[in-house]
Each structure stands twice: as C-alpha cells, then as structure tokens.
Amino acid sequence: MNIFQLSYRNMISRPLSTTLSLVLLILGVGMIALLLQMNRHVQEQMTNNIRGIDMVVGAKGSPLQLILSAVFHIDVPTGNISLHDAEQLRQNGLVDFGIPLSYGDSYEGYRILGTSHQYTELYSAEVASGRLWEEHFEVTLGAVAAVSLNLKVGDTFAGAHGLVAGGEIHEDQSYHVVGILNHTNSVVDQLILTATESVWEVHHHEEEEEAAAEETEGESGELHSEAHQEEHHDANDEEREITAMLINFRSPIGMVQIPRMVNEDTNMQAAVPVYEISRLFSLMGVGIDTLNTIALVIMAVSGFSVFISLFSALKDRRYEMALMRTYGANRWQLVWLVLQEGLLLTLLGFLFGIVFSRLGLWLVSGLMESSYHYEFSGWTLLAEEAWLLISALAIGFLASILPAIYIFRINISKTLANA
C-alpha cells in the first residue's frame, strides 16, 4: 500500500461523485477533441482538394455553390457554360492550364465526371490497375468508389441521370471500367472519371429519345421537340457545353485580372476557391466557437465538481489524515495524496474523453461517407490535444490545490482531540 494506491482507493470509495466528475470531464474533453479533429480533417481535406486550382469558371450563380460542386463535388452545379467561351479563356496568356468538367450522370450516388487526363495529374492520382479512359464510355474509377461500388476492371454498368442515386437509368448506354486509380485522399477517390465526350453522347442520345417521346404526346410537347431537334441538327463544337472549368494561372497577375474580367465581360462566373473556402470557414467558425465555449464551460464545471468531491470527502476524512500523520506520514505525502487523486481523476477523464471523441469521429465519418462520400482518416493525436491534456491536468491541479492546502495546515492535535 502506498500513497498512489491510496489515492486510487479513495477515489473509487466514492463511486457516485467520482462518476459525476468523470462524466463531466469526458463530455468537456470529448467535445473539444471531437471539434479539433473534425476541424483538422475538414481543413485538410479542403486544402488538399483545392491545391493547383486558382480559379473555377462556371455558370452564373452562387460562387460558393460553384466551388462546392466543381471542386468538392458535393453540391449541384450552377448550370452549364459554353465550351467555346471556356476554351477562349484557356487560350489567355495568363492561364497555365484549364481542365474541363462535365456532369450529367451518376452511378449509385457516385458522380460520373467527364474531364481530361489532366484532372488525374492535378491530384497526382496514379493508375493502380488497368489504364486511363481513352474511348467513349470507358471509365476509370477512384479508389474509394471502386471499393464501395464493388467494381473492377472489365465490369460494365449503366449510369443514372442526375447526380443523386435513383435517377432515370440509361440502360442502353453502359460504361466500361478500364482502370482504377490509387488512393489519393482527395475527391478523385470518390469519382468515376470518363471522357467529356461520353457525357455529351449520353445526353445527346437522351435528348433524341425525349424528343421522340414528346412528339407523340401531341401539341403540348410540340414546341419543345422543335427546340430540341434544332439543337440537335446544329450540334457542333461551338454549341457544346461543359459544367465548369478548373483554371491554373501562370502568374499571380492572372489571379488579379482574370476573375474580374470573367465576371464583368462574359456570361460565365469566376470563383476563387481559397476565398470561398475561407468565407465558408468563417461562417462555420461561429458555430464551432459556440460549441467550443460550451465544452469549455463543461470542463470548468467538471473542475468544480472534482473540487467539491475532494473537499467534501476531506471534511469526512479529516480525522483519517490526522491519523496518518500520527503514523508517520508527513505533510507533503498527504498533500500529494490529495493532488494525486485530483490529477488521477482528470487524467482518466481526459483519456476517456479522447476515446469518446474518436468514437464520435468514427460515427461522423461514417455519416459523412454515406451522404457526402467524404471519409476521415488518420487517427493521430493533435498538438492541440496535448494542450487539452495540459488544461485538463491544470483543472485537476487547481481543483485539488485548496483541499491540499487545507491538509497541509491541518492541526493534528486539535483534530484528534475533537474527534
């Protein structure tokens, strides 16, 4: 039996107040750690996904929506832009490269993106098996999409119209899997990549069918069908449309000139990912700050609870302390006894809190993956969590310092005589 064991035994001899203190600590620490982790994961994912993209051009609308749809692939696109206009912009001397993006279909919730091979280079995705798409209707899958959809090289599938699962299925036009990319920890993992032409072709074909169907419907469909057919006949490069284009500039001057030029002189919209993301974070920041404050208050309350628990126990154990002094314990041993109990409690609270936060992260990650195809990975301890540990221990120390001083100054003779 030594002082540490006695601290522990004293702690568990009061199960109710110890549990209360622990629960409060776990809540406080767990919430803060969860927020820290989620913040880090979201920021990491976001910065990882916007690297190399200086600007996005797309149809007019909300710039944030444009970024969310074209860069992160989580919102619906703002609309289409003319391929001709986009190509003209790409020819601008300040532009290094531009990658076209075309949406139209999805397969079981995973988006089929028509683009160029440059898109994979942007995220330094390598082909893990098979090859990149070449012909129309050939697709290369991102690593996560391949696993979730259970597709391998050689498989075929039919895309569904629209970007969410459950759209009309293009049964006559099936895609052919020719390759699977390696894991890049970016949005590419969640995508099905194909040639821009494939997307055009599917919808081209579809329009034809629609037109035919509408013709039989009679007068109401007449106007539409005419319009469709017209589009159809003159289909050439100038009328081709894409959803958005990712732009990288040669020099920072482009960053200053081009977005303004696009927004003022064309009917396209230019959005800068870095600006939009920082705007998004500042919007989310309010919520995160509020949650953080609540968590800090809970931690403070838990410190108070540890204090009450130690102090009330001490009132009952005053005689016990005096007794230990008569059996040879010195002041510092008893001070250490009380401090240790407070620190042990907060340390336990911290450890359980971290476990709790990881459990929460795991749950959130599962939720994110099923609804946004985003996954969190890397279960590392953050530097901020080391600070969290230090604050938790500081709370334990502060909560036990008053009881410890009380013990240090205890008058043995008086305590024994009054017992």
Partner: protein, 208 residues
C-alpha cells in the same frame, strides 16, 4: 527510556498546564490518571510530538523529540511511537490488512506480511483482515486500533482513554492486550485515562 522535564504548555493565558516530570525505564508501564480538563490529552500529544511544549524537555531513547523538524518528527513518530485513541479510527477506503500495510509504508518500513499476520493473530482478529475496519464490532475495532499502534514494533505505546467506552470485561481484555503487546516488542506503555478501573492493573501511576 522516556524522560520528561518541567513540561509546560499553554493554549492561552487561561488554560495552561505544568506537568510533573516522568522518567520511565525500559519495560516500565505508566498509568496517568486524571479528571477531564487537567490536560491528559495535552500531555499525550506533547509526548507524541503532536504539540510543541512552550518549555521543558521530552526525550525518548536519547532523541529530544521537540527539537526535530516537522518531517523528521513525523518519521520518528511513525517508527517509534504507536498511538491508541479513545475511539478507534481507520482509513475508510482500505481493509484492515491494507490499513496495516499503509502504516508500515508511512513509517518507511518494507511491506511485511508475516508481521501483519502475527499481530492480527496475537490480537485474536486474524479472520478480520480483509474486512473494512468500520464493519467490525466495537471490541474488534478497538483491537484493530491496537494492531495499527503496534504493527511497527514501536518503543513507546501511548494510549488515550482506550477503555472509557468499554464494559468491564472488555476493559480488562484491552489493557491486558496492550500490556502483552508492549512486553512482546519491549516497548514502554503509557495509558492516559480517567477510568479508575485501570488503577489496580498498573504499578506505576501518576495523578494529574
């Protein structure tokens, strides 16, 4: 041996005590008798080093107790003095055996299971080691308290009213046990009490 000389202590100018000198040889026992308020407990606390005398001298086996620093005094007390109180007290969270082990630890002695068994056996409570002390009967608790006092084989056993709440049979038992334990470890026994029943059981008595 225990020697006190012209001990004087005062809580305030109204309550002050001058104590008669005590000189005990090895193997001697002493009964200090006195009514409430004559400073019995004060004397015991002075001898145990729990109180500092205003003047006078206390010496145990050549060590002048009140001259030791606080930490050294705690260690000296733990190793050389065993205290028994009127009402037994223990560390609540621990079993009796763990209490004894703790007292060994606090005195800076190694954990000695044999000694714990030996003491429990000689006090007739060998079956109660795993119990929480407060769950024992009163008589058993008093014996357990004696176990705590003698576990480190002290040179001086100080008992403060150890029998006042006991009936006649238990009263005799406890004093006999205390004397036995003292004899076993060669300790001097000082009992301080107002309990006149003990008078006949001791050769040396001192009235305050």
């Amino acid at each position: 041996m225990l020697v006190t000389q012209s001990l004087y202590f005062a809580y305030s100018s109204d309550t002050e005590f001058h104590f008669p000198d005590i000189s005990l040889q090895e193997g001697d026992n002493l009964l200090v008798l006195g009514q409430s308020g004559v400073g019995k407990t004060t004397l015991l606390h002075l001898i145990a080093g729990l109180l500092q005398p205003k003047s006078g001298n206390i010496e145990l086996r050549g060590t002048v107790i009140h001259e030791l620093s606080s930490g050294k005094l705690d260690r000296f007390r733990g190793r050389n003095i065993g205290l028994v109180f009127q009402r037994p007290h223990f560390v609540q969270a621990l079993s009796l055996r763990e209490n004894l082990s703790l007292v060994q630890y606090l005195a800076g002695k190694p954990h000695d299971k044999m000694r714990i068994n030996e003491v429990l056996k000689s006090l007739g409570i060998e079956g109660k080691g795993e119990n929480k002390p407060y769950s024992l009967s009163q008589g058993e608790q008093q014996r357990a308290a004696i176990a705590l006092a003698v576990i480190n084989s002290p040179q001086l056993i100080l008992a403060d009213e150890p029998t006042s709440s006991l009936d006649d049979t238990n009263c005799t038992k406890v004093t006999t046990l205390l004397k036995e334990q003292a004899a076993e470890t060669g300790a001097q026994l000082v009992i301080i009490t107002h309990d006149q029943r003990l008078k006949d059981q001791f050769e040396n008595t001192l009235s305050l």
